[in-house]
Subunit: 160 residues, 2 copies
């Protein structure tokens, strides 16, 4: 790996760290309430198990990105482990974003067939936060895909 490639790799990891931290903060601070028939209805991320999973997955990816940024060396014997963990984190991120997006879609559009009503009309601030958090999580997933693909690019002759 040349110095430029290494710099790009670290820059991508730094971006991924920023994106995952942003996803966690924006999701955790999502909060909105409305009054329906004199009853106050409060929307919070931790009312939905899938959003909790999203926060945990993004936090794990964030911690992993930070550890790699702090402890990586140019000639590190653990590079193979890092490559495998990159793929695991990429899958974890795509999984958490997709699961949260599936629930957010029902929250936005509802599902007439089973009688699940949309809630974004009542709690727009909550939905805006969730959307922002999902965009940050999606960016992080794409960055980890790029990191993995760039690792394959460095391989001079994988199957000699």
């Amino acid at each position: 790996m040349t110095k430029t490639q290494r710099g790009l790799n670290l820059f991508l990891r730094f971006l991924a760290f920023g994106a995952t931290i942003a996803a966690v903060v924006v999701m955790v601070t999502s909060h909105d309430s409305t009054k329906v028939l004199n009853l106050t209805f409060t929307a919070k991320y931790n009312n939905e198990p899938v959003f909790k999973y999203f926060v945990i997955a993004e936090a794990v990816a964030s911690g992993y990105s930070l550890i790699i940024l702090l402890f990586t060396r140019s000639k590190n014997s653990l590079w193979r482990l890092v490559l495998i963990l990159d793929v695991v984190i990429a899958m974890l991120l795509s999984s958490s974003v997709s699961a949260a997006l599936a629930i957010a879609h029902v929250g936005k559009k509802g599902n007439d067939h089973v009688g699940w009503l949309p809630i974004c009309g009542q709690v727009p601030k909550f939905c805006d936060h969730v959307t922002g958090s999902l965009i940050a999580g999606f960016v992080a997933a794409i960055i980890y895909l790029l990191l993995t693909c760039s690792s394959f690019y460095y391989v001079p002759n994988l199957f000699p």
Copy 2:
């Protein structure tokens, strides 16, 4: 790659092909109906956009696995592209399984906070099919993770 490693690689791809085909067939044949207040309510996979996405993603993974099984050669210059596509398919599978699982979870347990009622009590056959399909999709995602990790194992000296 030795002959044994190559055999194992093809065996895993064959298993992934079987698992993704099973996921598609079991999801597409999911169908159940019930009568609520003299109205017939029918549960089908294509009433929910996320289940449609699941079927498309599993079908793409299935087609990709078949193409690799049919056209792979031991000394193929496209191996690097195959490795990158393996990661993309692994992420696609984990994404589709997680999204479908998120909706299936609401279908099973509902969500009291937003008034989404569970439906599995009314259409148990539909829910059994979805569960079976999700298990097959999960197995396929794990196989693609193993395939990607085994590729890294073959790399003798990735960062010399």
